[in-house]
Amino acid sequence: MNALFLSRLQFAVTTAFHMLWPLLSIGLSFMMVILEIAWLGTKKEVYYRHERFWSKIFFLTFGIGVASGLVLEFEFGTNWAGFSQTAGGFFGNILGFEGSMAFALESAFLALFIFGWNRMSKGAHLVSTIMVAFGASLSAWWIMDANSWMQTPTGVKIVNGSVAYINYLQAILNPFATISFWHMWIACIETTIFFVAGISAYYILKDQNTEFFLKIFKISVIIAIFATPVQVYLGDLSGKEVGQYQPATLAAMESHWNTNPSGIGATWHLIAIPERSAEKNIFVINAPVPGLMSFLDTGSFTAQIRGLKDFPADDRGPIILPFYSFRLMVLIGFIMVFMMLWALWYWFRGNLKYENTSRHRWFWKIWYWGFPLGFIATELGWITREVGRQPWIIYGIMRTSQGVSNLTTSQVLITLSAFIATYFVLFVLFIVFVRRIIKAGPDLKSPLPEYHEKR
């Protein structure tokens, strides 16, 4: 254990924890916009009640997201001074853009979104809700953009340890940026609808406000019709991009040691136990389809995939972590597609009608337990992405070991332990309070908002 390893672990822990909250707050804010438009458009109270109910969870999520996000911005400096000094001239700008264009917008309008119901006109409130959602999503764009630049650092020239010249367009629109953003944005939507549908399934199982929650369950399923297959498609595109721009990462993700001879496709391993010193897999279970790896990673069954042995040992990152987290993520992605199809089929057969809900308990139980799927898949995807980039902090330009600050081991050990302890408690408390909100159920009685139309 040294300051480098501990700093990596600390960044991993703080990022993994932070990510949970924007996943939900971006998705929920998007859902609030849909609900508010539906409420204003149809005048049906149910949409308004849903918006208010879910906004309670949104608000809780948002606060933890803000606090845990601030950590990351400062951690670049505290723990990664070498990286910050080298890349700050571009990377820091992007974080600044996120703060000024997105985060500031989102948190200012949050006040009106949460506390403004009886203080403004219908239109003005809807605009506030849209601003919150827009700010949240724009935030994701800049953060993903900054991270993508670390993966595919184009457009920036680094001389003597600092940014000397930037082609802004090339740097912002680096190869990974667009697809990574959409992959993450859809992840937010998908995570949220499975979370919302899961909680709805809980109420339906208990037959508490069943009709009310069937409504949001169906809305979630409708969104899932688009989100789940699109996510599989975006995931596929991302994988192919990794192959194109980070061939060593792809080889690690596939535990692929030897470049396959031309004309004969590479076999896809379902399970592999790699042995680094022997430069081979000591155990594999292969997919029975010949050339499947080549097909999945390039679209052609016979394409050559460069093996790990093609890269100097120093340039090979960890294998097991990206290999398994990647596979698990893909598996969950497909489970979500199948759950969507199952729900759709049940819907057409009339099983989602109020009077039939008590009969299909397995269906509702599985949807109930599906509530954390999106969170898990996204975390796994992030592990694949970040561990896959190793040993680089800026791919091909700067090694992670060169980016670390000048810290003592005990310094980082203390803060890391404090983060783990604090975040653990926060996580437990969040669950406790969300359970409390869920147990209390939606408020269906309080008066509807008194909009102030002439202000």
Partner: protein, 335 residues
């Protein structure tokens, strides 16, 4: 051109920090008072006052961090590396403050969250005080970046300065509470304004004296700087502002006056600090222009941040407009 851009971002950074101090300083100050308050209704009232705004106020710190990172990456990197401990104290303080506000709403045992809210605020302010104190106390820089030890920031000067920050923020919080409330809670806060302003003044004077005694290199630089007349004028104005704060809080007639004079005082002191430091960003040896990012980056920030800041100010005013007037009862904003 480069010098102009570098100086522009130096002042923009100062502006963002100033906004943060004025706005979140007030939130944190209200948080600190929680520790001296047993009355749950008063605490709820304080939370209602800051409830809609505290996270928007925190964005100014995030933006300041972004500007420092983007425009002066070496300062951000070496500074954060050197000030690891105070920054972590700040971060943990802000985490506890945030979750205390969020969770208190849903909790039956409010007292626990009040204490967390108060101590989180104290930690956040100490983090800031020690970070600024540590920066001015000098940072050892070697060829590979920061070359000092983790506890270099901890000096008598930074210690006293941190307490100055605490009372300064408490003064902001109490005077804002005076402006936003009425009745008994307002009277309590009038008294708080007087107490905190006296302590803040004493500590500021002590830390200035300490700065002389410690004979830090900055001091020589500052004493020989041609800005001496400007500084003298600013300090005289500060003395006037303190007098006005105490008088207006004692009179208890115009409830916006203490806040007005507190903001005036903080602004004045802040300007004095900026005048003293400029053109250095890490006194006494690193000038802003020497460590600024290349022009492309500073220009891009002009578009991506500089032009956005007026928009941010505009919509924040728009939002605030909806929450004008007194907060009637605790939970008043929460409908």
């Amino acid at each position: 051109m480069h010098e102009f851009l570098a100086d522009f971002w130096f002042f923009a950074l100062a502006f963002e920090l100033f906004m943060y101090v004025i706005l979140d300083g007030m939130d944190l100050g209200i948080g600190v008072w929680t520790l001296f308050d047993e009355n749950e209704d008063h605490i709820s009232m304080g939370l209602s006052v800051i409830g809609p705004f505290w996270d928007a106020n925190e964005t100014w710190l995030v933006m300041a961090g972004g500007i420092l990172f983007g425009a002066f990456p070496a300062v951000y990197a070496i500074g954060a590396n050197a000030l690891y401990i105070p920054i972590m104290i700040l971060i943990f303080g802000l985490i506890f403050r945030a979750v205390a506000i969020e969770f208190r709403e849903h909790s039956k045992n409010k007292r626990l969250w009040d204490i967390l809210f108060g101590s989180g605020s104290v930690a956040a302010i100490f983090g800031q005080g020690f970070a600024i104190g540590g920066l001015f106390g000098g940072i050892k820089i070697g060829p590979g970046g920061f070359a000092g030890s983790p506890w270099d920031f901890f000096t008598p000067f930074s210690f006293i300065l941190s307490f100055g920050f605490i009372f300064g923020y408490m003064m902001l919080g109490a005077s804002y509470m005076v402006a936003k409330t009425e009745g008994e809670i307002q009277r309590v806060n009038y008294t708080r304004v007087i107490i905190s302003s006296i302590f803040a003044t004493l500590l500021t004077i002590i830390s200035l004296i300490l700065l002389h005694f410690l004979n830090l290199p900055e001091m020589k630089m500052w004493l020989s700087s041609p800005d001496e007349y400007v500084l003298t004028a600013l300090y005289i104005l500060a003395a006037l502002a303190i007098l006005m704060i105490i008088l207006s809080a004692h009179a208890e007639k115009k409830d916006r006056l203490p806040y007005f004079w507190t903001v005036f005082l903080v602004t004045d002191i802040f300007i004095a600090g900026v005048v003293e430091v400029f053109p250095y960003i890490v006194p006494p040896n690193i000038k802003a222009v020497e460590v600024a990012s290349p022009n492309e980056s500073l220009i891009a920030m002009m578009i991506g941040i500089g032009m956005i800041v007026p928009v941010i100010l505009a919509y924040n005013l728009y939002v605030k407009k909806h929450f004008a007037g007194k907060v009637k009862k605790s939970g008043g904003y929460y409908e």
